[in-house]
């Protein structure tokens, strides 16, 4: 399959899932009325549902999915490790911690920007910590261990903050932050998160050639003319800003950044640079599909999207283990 064909197929899949996401929901609206209402025609309630409830949800599903796929691909390219992803490395959990602290200390009441900024600070700190813990050796064991350490700490601190909050609902919200949810997000959330995600995307895409150069290691990359320090900054900043923005409005959605690049890598000839766009489109499609599934499986109940991505991710890990075992002599 050529690269162009792959990108075309993934784009089509994403567009299709976007439309489906607009048409699924507890308000029983048929296709024609839904689409008309989307553009402002028809009964007022339907317009409200389409423009203020379904549209922001679909936009966020698409952009957050793209962010997670792209971040996973960039992290895997930079760390030269196919198990890197914002969830496994504890970056999402740290972003959640930053967001929770901004929200529950009341900083977010002063400025709505405090929420994504808090998440970003959390994400940056986690990436710096992981690198410090794992050192320049980015072999699997030390990297995963660092990620688990950072992620565990962030989760624990989040639960503590929520338990200590005077607000009685706070301790129940841990589920949102750990599993993620797109329900009842508004265009305000879109306006808050999408600019940050877009900035992150720009930084990550700029690292593309550097990631190719890193295929044979940091030294060879250097001698191929790449500025490895600059690649690192781009990846760190890009992931922190994009994942921070995404997590601040939707909580921590796991496994997308791990599974999507892994599946698409053979289809892009293993090129790290090509994997970036493909993973963005694949991630967007996956999260949109998961969000549709969440609404179709149990329409009355509020199933968190992270449950579905975990249902995909956990078997994926099992398969990875089996594959690794088969390769061992």
């Amino acid at each position: 399959m050529t690269y162009r064909l792959l990108i075309a197929l993934l784009t089509a899949a994403m567009a299709l899932m976007f439309v489906v996401a607009l048409l699924v929901g507890p308000a029983k609206l048929d296709v024609v009325n839904s689409l008309m209402a989307l553009f402002g025609h028809g009964n007022q309630a339907a317009v409200l549902v389409m423009q203020e409830i379904r549209l922001p949800r679909a936009i966020l599903g698409m952009t957050i999915g793209a962010t997670l796929g792209l971040s996973g691909a960039a992290l895997q390219g930079y760390l030269r490790n196919p198990l890197a992803d914002p969830g496994v490395l504890g970056i999402s959990a740290s972003a959640s911690l930053g967001a929770v602290l901004a929200l529950y200390t009341g900083l977010a009441a002063i400025s709505s920007l405090a929420l994504p900024l808090g998440a970003m600070v959390g994400a940056v700190i986690s990436v710096v910590l992981i690198q410090a813990l794992a050192g320049s050796y980015t072999g699997t064991l030390s990297l995963i261990l660092s990620g688990v350490a950072v992620g565990s700490f962030a989760s624990a601190a989040t639960m503590l903050a929520l338990n200590l909050s005077p607000n009685p609902f706070a301790s129940l919200e841990i589920v949102f932050w750990m599993l993620g949810s797109l329900s009842d997000r508004s265009m305000e959330h879109v306006g808050l998160a999408v600019p940050f995600m877009a900035v992150g995307w720009v930084a990550l895409v700029a690292s593309a050639r550097g990631l190719d150069a890193l295929t044979l290691g940091g030294d060879v990359a250097n001698t191929l003319g790449a500025n490895v320090g600059r690649v690192r900054s781009l990846v760190v900043i890009g992931v922190a800003v994009a994942v921070g923005g995404a997590t601040s409005v939707a909580g921590s959605i796991g496994f997308v950044g791990l599974v999507v690049p892994h599946i698409l890598r053979p289809l892009v000839g293993q090129w790290p640079s090509r994997l970036l766009l493909a993973s963005a489109l694949g991630g967007a499609s996956l999260v949109l599909a998961a969000d549709v599934a969440v609404r179709m499986i149990a329409p009355g109940r509020d199933i968190k999207i992270g449950v579905l991505t975990a249902l995909i991710g956990a078997p994926f890990f099992v398969w990875l283990v089996m594959k690794t075992r088969r390769q061992m002599p």
Partner: protein, 259 residues
């Protein structure tokens, strides 16, 4: 033509002197072997020549001081083959070799000129048929040639390779070094570090012998690797001779077991 010049170059790290006032010149068309005991500074010499280790003194590539060159210019002047042979992604051989074109623009938008260089590099390393195979399917010796081809695809006047023959069986070792010799014949300057004295003597035009960060000898193989020198630097007794194909140098035992 001089492609690499070291002028009073030293490398210090953690209050240890790893390279001590090195001076040397490498010219196009020669295969130079850098030899010496473990810890003599061979790898550091290579890395200093690539700018991977900070060094005092002056290093010139193609006559131009290191500091004046941009990353890209440097990447077009010297290519590197490290000792480590891990490739993390299961790329096709042709893709891997084409990584060498990165300093010339994106290797993905490979134009006709890029493809020609890649094909030539693969020919030079005798892997022209390997294009669609993945690295993990290859033997160690074949993998070594693939990684070398990547450096050749960079089309630089100078190639620095750190222990390219280590871990290879005699056939693959000889194949690799012979192919490098052939390539040097077309004008490229090639510097390799080696442990195997026989391979170094047979396949290099010139040897640089290092000990404790200094160059102790520099010249044709038989001039550098005398029995006395081998005993002094390697603490080995050796048989030094020649046949009609070239030198024969075989360590036979320890020179001084008590040392």
């Amino acid at each position: 033509m001089t492609v690499l010049q070291f002028d009073n170059v030293s490398v210090r790290f953690a209050s240890r002197t790893i390279l001590d006032r090195i001076g040397l010149e490498i010219a196009s068309g020669e295969v130079v072997g850098v030899i010496g005991p473990n810890g003599a500074g061979k790898t550091t010499l290579i890395k200093a020549g690539l700018g991977l280790w900070p060094a005092t003194g002056e290093i010139r590539l193609d006559g131009r001081p290191f500091g004046e060159l941009s990353r890209r210019e440097r990447a077009r002047l010297v290519a590197y083959v490290p000792q480590e042979r891990d490739v993390v992604w299961e790329m096709a051989v042709a893709s891997l070799v084409s990584l060498g074109r990165l300093p010339y623009g994106s290797s993905l938008r490979a134009g006709g000129a890029d493809r020609a260089v890649v094909a030539q590099a693969m020919n030079d390393m005798d892997i022209a048929d390997f294009g669609e195979r993945t690295v993990s399917e290859l033997s160690v010796g074949e993998r070594a040639r693939v990684l070398m081809a990547r450096a050749l695809a960079q089309d630089t006047p100078l190639l620095l390779a750190d222990e390219p023959a280590s871990g290879l069986d005699p056939e693959h070792q000889i194949r690799l070094l012979a192919l490098l010799r052939r390539r040097a014949g077309k004008g490229q300057a090639i510097v390799v570090t080696l442990h195997d004295l026989q391979a170094a003597a047979r396949w290099c035009d010139r040897l640089i012998l290092m000990q404790q960060g200094r160059i102790v000898a520099d010249g044709p193989p038989l001039a550098v690797l005398t029995e006395a020198r081998i005993a002094e630097v390697y603490n080995c007794a050796a048989f030094v001779g020649a046949d009609d194909r070239g030198p024969i140098i075989i360590p036979t035992g320890l020179a001084d077991p008590e040392a």
